[in-house]
């Protein structure tokens, strides 16, 4: 089964009250309308430097010098 289908089934299984679903849906619409659409295909990803889980400084371009990179933005561990 695809990840998309599994996530959709999981979301449906939570059986949230309609008023909660409505708030979450309005939140998603708000972000969509805010224009936070991310990078386009073919665009160069901006370089950056950030600390990793061990407090080491990590630069995107250092990773790229070793090969392709899968870059994932996630909301958090919660």
């Amino acid at each position: 089964m695809s990840l998309k289908k599994r996530l959709a089934e999981f979301d449906a299984s939570r059986k949230r009250p309609p008023e909660v679903v409505a708030i979450l849906r309005r939140g998603i619409d708000y972000v969509r309308e805010s224009g936070a659409a991310g990078l386009r295909i073919g665009e160069r990803a901006p370089d950056f430097t950030l600390p990793n889980q061990r407090g080491e400084t990590v630069r995107l371009s250092d990773h790229l010098s070793r090969g392709p990179v899968v870059l994932n933005f996630y909301r958090g561990v919660w």
Partner: protein
């Protein structure tokens, strides 16, 4: 994750969380990917993924879900990225990717693997 690494690609994850509360000590030293902390939201903004959590959603998180983002992100930081995945070639060009404010939608792992294979194929030609 293992498939991605076996194809010679590095996995890099970024969240707005402070670095100190995401992993145990053991995890910090064994997980073979970089988990980065964008504690000033600078990178999320550069990538046009940043947003401030709307008041209505903030109230829902706090009151119904018992979720206080400040505990994870730091004081006053009700800020998040649009969940996104990008496959970058060695020049840093986005060759595939998805960003969707609907956090129940994620890029298919098979699409990620196909994009890396495509990049590697072009290199060996």
């Amino acid at each position: 994750m293992e498939t991605i690494r076996s194809l010679g690609a590095d996995l890099v994850a970024i969240s707005p969380e402070r670095p100190d509360n995401t992993l145990t000590m053991a995890e910090k030293h064994t997980i073979p990917i970089d988990i980065l902390s964008d504690a000033t939201s600078e990178v999320m903004k550069k990538y046009r993924l940043w947003f401030a959590v709307p008041a209505e959603v903030k109230a829902l998180y706090l009151e119904k879900f018992g979720l206080n983002l400040e505990k994870y992100n730091g004081a006053g930081r009700w800020e998040l990225p649009v969940p996104a995945t990008y496959v970058l070639d060695r020049d840093g060009i986005v060759r595939a990717g998805e960003a969707d404010p609907d956090y129940t939608v994620r890029m298919e792992p098979s699409d990620i693997v196909a994009a890396i294979r495509n990049i590697s194929g072009n290199l060996s030609r």
